[in-house]
Symmetry: C2
Subunit: 244 residues, 2 copies
DNA sequence: CGTTCATTTGAGTGCCGTCAATATAAGTGG
DNA sequence: CCACTTATATTGACGGCACTCAAATGAACG
């Protein structure tokens, strides 16, 4: 895999979210990145570890999650190509959650050392990456609202619409009626804070109602209008416009 | 109010969380800060606004919250002296949630311009503040787990123990059996994702069981052992040790 | 073609929500 | 300082969303 396509999605993403000048872009392009392939459903970094590098998703999907002592798991976020899901480890040295792949993925590892050199040399890039971690936090805030306030069907369609919107800033184009959503029903339950049994019932209900069909790792939108009404999805919290 | 006591809690907090050298500390001390008093239960910045300054809590308590279109409110975090709850606005220009006081408070406002000058001149300070926002995000992650996975009584004691632990890094000393918790039962409900009626029942149950007494804006620990067992509180996610 | 994992469905239970009323505390003006 | 107003806390009755336990079906994979 050539260097350009490795950083392409990262740059596309940083540029939709921040303003960078050519020198910044060149500096990011010249970061040393170690590309490795990862099987699906495998840990990348685990709770308690002290990683010395950050992980750029080049291809595939990842999730972050935390497990309680009672043995329950909560999925905290879903990550797509262009994301650096453990960028926080640059300053938070011990992991407080798990990061793992959802499907077979191509990952690029960037050492903390080289990132630190870059951010200290170029405050502009530091700001862009900082901003990236702040958007990450904004998504967590919305996730809290989702789990805390919305009824289960609305929770599901909300995270689905969030994922669709975020995929746009990498893939480009217009909102598709069908898109990847590579979670099992058990994982959907872990993301929404419900049991897999209940997740199944909600999915069936949404399908029977002709709103969305969530199956085989994909979402098929059946009725865009009623879906929007149910999800109450407002993308402002994604902060995708650097000017705003 | 003299300058030293204004920044004292901020410095104490940044130093428990990051390593700063004397020049960094001097630079932070010389930040222009406008001190203002605020009544209780008043908005500081609201969803949709574009603030040009950040707010340091000098005295008092604040919360961040988001409201859904359905009119429900979710409290996202509780803030104490030394916190800069809207530090994210430095890079995320449009607010995606509300920040308001819980009780009458003394606030210090620091312009984005002076913060940006400081962070660009001193990468060390930038890293410390960046780290601060990352801890903020780590707390959000734990909050998601709390709301998504724990039963309501455990949720309540978990946020109470988190607040107690965080108060320690400002106030110093050892874990007190009684501490401030200035939330009404309605606000407790909004923080936990339950109704105020149910919040009341849980509080009563915890009191009757002799575990904790949450009343009149205070928490009284009745049985430290059973409390710890119920809350499953592990402070690792607060990242209070700069070395770790 | 058997093993394993994911999905689906049923029956019964319980946590938590809604609606409603009352009590208590806190604050305000006369 | 008391009457009045309002916010907060408390309690009861009832309903429903979501959980547990359990089993069956379907899909994927070596």
């Amino acid at each position: 895999m050539d260097r350009d396509s490795v950083v392409a999605s990262l740059l596309r993403r940083l540029e939709t979210v921040s303003k960078l000048d050519p020198a910044d872009i060149a500096a990011i392009r010249s970061l040393p990145i170690a590309v490795r392939h990862w099987a699906g459903a495998r840990a990348i970094v685990s709770d308690g570890e002290r990683p010395s590098e950050c992980c750029l998703i080049i291809e595939g999907f990842c999730i972050r999650s935390k497990s309680t002592e009672a043995g329950q798991r909560q999925i905290l976020s879903i990550h797509i190509p262009g994301d650096i899901p453990d960028l926080q480890s640059l300053h938070l040295h011990r992991m407080d959650h798990d990061l793992s792949t959802l499907v077979p993925s191509t990952l690029g590892f960037i050492s903390h050392a080289s990132l630190r050199t870059l951010t200290h040399a170029r405050p502009n890039v530091a700001d862009a990456l900082w901003r990236d971690t702040l958007i990450d936090a904004a998504i967590f805030r919305e996730w809290i609202v989702n789990v805390g306030q919305r009824p289960a069907p609305a929770r599901l369609v909300h995270i689905a619409l969030e994922l669709r919107r975020r995929l746009l800033s990498v893939r480009g184009g217009t909102e598709p009626a069908t898109f990847e959503f590579p979670l099992t029903q058990e994982q959907i339950g872990e993301a929404l804070g419900i049991t897999p049994v209940h997740a199944n019932r909600i999915i069936r209900q949404l399908r029977e109602d002709g709103i969305v069909d969530v199956s085989r790792g994909q979402v098929h939108v059946l009725d865009e209008t009623r879906l929007a009404e149910l999800a109450q999805f407002d993308d402002r919290y994604l902060h995708q416009d650097p000017a705003a």
